[in-house]
Amino acid sequence: MDNLELLKKQWQSREQELPKLSYTDIHKMLLKKSSSIVKWIFLISIGELLFWTILAFFVPESSKAINDSIGLKTTFMVVNIVHYIIFAGFIYLFYKNYHSIKVTDTIKELMRSILNTRKTVKYFVFYNVGASILLMLAVNMFYFTKKDQLYKLMVQNYEGYGAIPQESFTSVFFISQLVISVVFVGLIILFYRVIYGILLKRLKRNYCELEKIEV
């Protein structure tokens, strides 16, 4: 006889060797907290939303003052409004995605909706990183065209800058801006690689396996 058939025959009779939980054991479990992948992705996503929102509050007053006096006030206001509209759009998508995750779907559908959810979060991060880079580039280019005025303002607002002569100010200022941006983006990319890499590796592998069956 086929060995799998043999195993199938014995499969049911093995049941008495399985652990037996009592009514109370099971009842107690209902109070425990879930630790499913979806819950983790959800928590991390909320963390991401908070992170980008809070970050906006950390722009120091002095740099706001500089931007105001250099003539970027209206530009920044428009950029902010656009940003928050897009942000609201993401929150809506985000909510809709989580709503669509149902544990009673087929295995394939469930995996697809989790991966889709993850994709939305990924786009959100791409958008944030991309927008930050673009904004940073644009602002620095603008600064560059007005570097004399910028130097005066910087000396006014930060005492340390007075020690730097105007000739070397341009290179010191823009190189430090560049280094900070690169480090910042690098850290964010690393963070996502590690966190979601861990969470989604198995899910992706299994999803590909199912896709393969259908080909």
Binding site: L4, L18, L30, S34, I107, I213
Partner: protein, 164 residues
């Protein structure tokens, strides 16, 4: 109302717990992970229970949620080592048919099944549970024909594991 729901849920799960234990056995390698997965499946079942309308059997609905949890939602703990724990696995064979080599073969077969990937394992599990290909395809979300083809391939794979 909530108490009633709770009672009805726990009673039904208690009666059908073997299904969940079998899945836990297949997808984990030690008793800690087994209990961990059992608990996660219980929570997922409980969360989905209010939407369970009773148009299918409780056990049928359970297969889907439990397998979904094992394959999709459960995060394998880091402690999971790649050793297979056979102590919990022995096969009762009726006295007249008892044969050491049969017992050996069954163990080998079971370890073969355990070594399959998550998806193949789910297919074999449902097959061993005597589910129809229709039910298998509806649980996994693939077509019936493909489930059949895949199952034949897995059988072939298991045969080579057993008779190298």
């Amino acid at each position: 109302m909530n108490k009633e729901l709770e009672h009805s849920f726990v009673t039904q799960l208690e009666a059908n717990q073997n299904i969940v234990h079998k899945i836990c056995r297949l997808y984990t390698n030690n008793s800690d992970a087994h209990n961990d997965l059992f608990q996660e499946i219980t929570i997922q079942l409980w969360k989905a229970f209010p939407k369970f309308r009773g148009d299918s059997k409780f056990s049928t609905w359970m297969y889907r949620v439990a397998l979904n949890t094992a394959i999709t939602l459960y995060r394998k703990s880091k402690r999971t080592v790649k050793t297979q724990d056979f102590e919990g696995v022995s096969f009762k064979i009726s006295a007249e048919a008892y044969d050491d080599t049969v017992e050996e073969q069954l163990k080998l077969m079971y370890s073969g099944v355990k070594s399959l990937n998550d998806i193949d394992k789910a297919l074999v599990f449902l097959y061993l549970e005597d589910k129809s290909y229709r039910e298998i395809s509806e649980t996994l979300g693939i077509s019936e024909v493909n489930a059949r083809v895949k199952m034949n391939r897995i059988k072939e794979k298991l045969r080579t594991i057993l008779n190298p």
